[in-house]
Symmetry: C2
Subunit: 331 residues, 2 copies
DNA sequence: CTGAAAGCGCTTACAG
DNA sequence: CTGAAAGCGCTTACAG
């Protein structure tokens, strides 16, 4: 410490000199390289030297030399509005971190210009929550990324789509079980239905089909003007008694409009939300909704990533254990 | 194309060979390196060869050689709940991209274990929306990052805190202008007040002080049980007539509870929200709230980053042009 | 105007 | 058990 403290970054050469070994040995010790037999005394010497000097490997150099960045890039199609998504990411990050990987999230929008993040990051794996379009696949591959998920060229049994579909399926099941035979799927007009909306709607349609019902129409309501009331009256005239809402905010708007239209909830029309967010319990009447366990889902995600990265075993999780119905007063 | 298509990644050596020049020339052309005089014919040859081969520079190699990653890491203290934040990020990303930088966001939580992202990414700049704690500063510096913002060691006149404080200030001003002299600041009990809540509350306190009022207490309400009503009655007994809500959801809960408690809004008690989200216009009565322009803020952010990265000129934006009052029926 | 060469800080066969 | 050396794919003075 004196004028020697010209902030030059500590390198493995410094650690090697400090510990009296070669750079190779430093690497072996710090990375716990398998197949090397290094006596405990040397190990300790290296570890202590590294700690004393505050050594952090240069990740660019490491990536270049090893050919792996240990970065997992998670591509999000739209802005996730669920608060619980944070718990999902926390858990996923943590689980990946334990295996030495860093999780980076990247929110991609349809209109995005500019260089995609996979070009700047050299990720070992790029994962999307919805399928990539062909342009993106080409772009990802062109950046030297060999692992992506879902991979259009690979018929992989691994599947995380239940993370999206389990909720809508449960919504449909619940309404049917309560005796409703004519359903609609409601979302907001603005912003225009994005991929998560479409994916949830499609899951609801598939479930309705399985249960022998026609697919519920995708109805886009407006929460600003009074058109939601009209829509609800129209639904009633069509014999519809059950509303599957994209999320709890949509559900709340539908419930308010139903009341204004003079309909009783759930007797005249039943409404079920999704996400169990703060809004859900606050309304009068309190909203029936879907709760899912984001932490478990986060671990599922990390396991899938490690499966793709290192071939660890993988087994598709059971959807029914990831999602629960919260029945309150609107169904 | 045939068996030669063994997917080996295209390198600058390939491009150099294809164009009949050296690797140095390839770099100069593709990076538009200033101070090199390269004839248009050579430029075109290189550009065409690169395009034909689908060349993407290896970012790890580039980072290692140049000492710059061209990555800006934005550290978010908590999960941002405002939908408009996406527009902020879009705009910021785009503006940075135009200057050749990639923006990566990193949501950090108090309990986070594991390797921080700045260790894996080698960012040229780390920016936090709230100040870093000393441990983080040490960790960031230890990873060889020389530029961070806010930088505790540097008395920098650059300031983006108006992005947080302008809204609360406007809330306070509006309530005072409407004749309210006794105010509270309301937020949810769960999750416990996080940094954004505290920052907004503090801004409200500062503004109240400037306007000659005592600082509004931070009141934590519960949206599950009926305790919000009790709180409101208590506030009334204390002579409080104005409620500054952390966001529109809090405002909605307060308004509902006030109605249940038999108070008239805004005559007995005025409530102003923040964010102008979808909930705000939906309630009866519609919520007065604060709207801010996320895109402009995104550009402000990008300009600040470029100022720190390349010394571009910077001038603190005028808060009052970034935020507007949306007066509806609760004030 | 262009290229040969050193170097960025690691990892990894390989030889001893 | 350990180290000398090549190499990852770029960038950047520097010499011509």
């Amino acid at each position: 410490m004196s004028e020697a403290t010209v902030r030059r970054r500590v390198t493995s050469t410094d650690v090697a000199r400090e510990a009296g070994v070669s750079r190779a040995t430093v690497t072996y010790v710090l990375n716990d390289t398998p197949g090397q037999t290094i006596p405990q005394s040397t190990r300790t010497r290296v570890l202590e030297a590294a700690a004393r000097l505050g050594y952090r490997p240069n990740s660019a150099a490491r990536t270049l030399a090893s050919g792996r960045s240990r970065i997992v890039l998670l591509v999000l199609p739209d802005w996730p509005q669920e608060f619980s998504f944070r718990h999902f990411l926390d858990e996923a990050s943590l689980a990946l971190d334990e295996s030495g990987y860093s999780l980076v999230t990247y929110t991609r929008h349809p209109g995005t210009r500019g260089r995609p993040l996979w070009e700047a990051l050299n990720p070992d794996l790029v994962i999307g929550l919805v399928p990539f379009d062909p342009d993106d696949v080409a772009s990802i591959r062109g950046c030297g990324v060999t692992r992506l998920f879902p991979d259009p060229d690979e018929s992989d049994s691994a599947d995380l789509s239940m993370a999206v579909s389990a909720g809508p399926e449960l919504q449909v099941d619940h309404l049917i079980d309560r005796g409703h035979r004519r359903l609609v799927y409601a979302t907001f007009k603005e912003p225009p239905p994005y991929s998560l909306v479409l994916a949830r709607h499609r899951a609801a349609c598939d479930r309705a089909y399985t249960r022998g019902l026609p697919p519920p129409d995708l109805e886009r309501i407006d929460h600003q003007d009074g058109s939601t009331e009209e829509a609800i009256r129209r639904w009633r005239d069509m014999g519809i008694t059950g509303v599957i809402a994209f999320n709890d905010i949509v559900a709340a708007v539908v419930v308010v409009a139903a009341a204004t239209a003079g309909l009783r909830v759930p007797d005249d029309i039943a409404v079920i939300g999704h996400d169990d967010n703060q809004t859900a319990a606050m309304f009068v009447p309190q909203l029936s909704t879907i709760r899912f366990d984001p932490s478990t889902l986060g671990r599922d995600f990390a396991n899938l990533a490690l499966h793709k990265l290192e071939g660890r075993p993988w087994q598709n999780p059971d959807a029914s254990t990831r999602v629960t119905l919260v029945r309150r007063r609107t169904t």
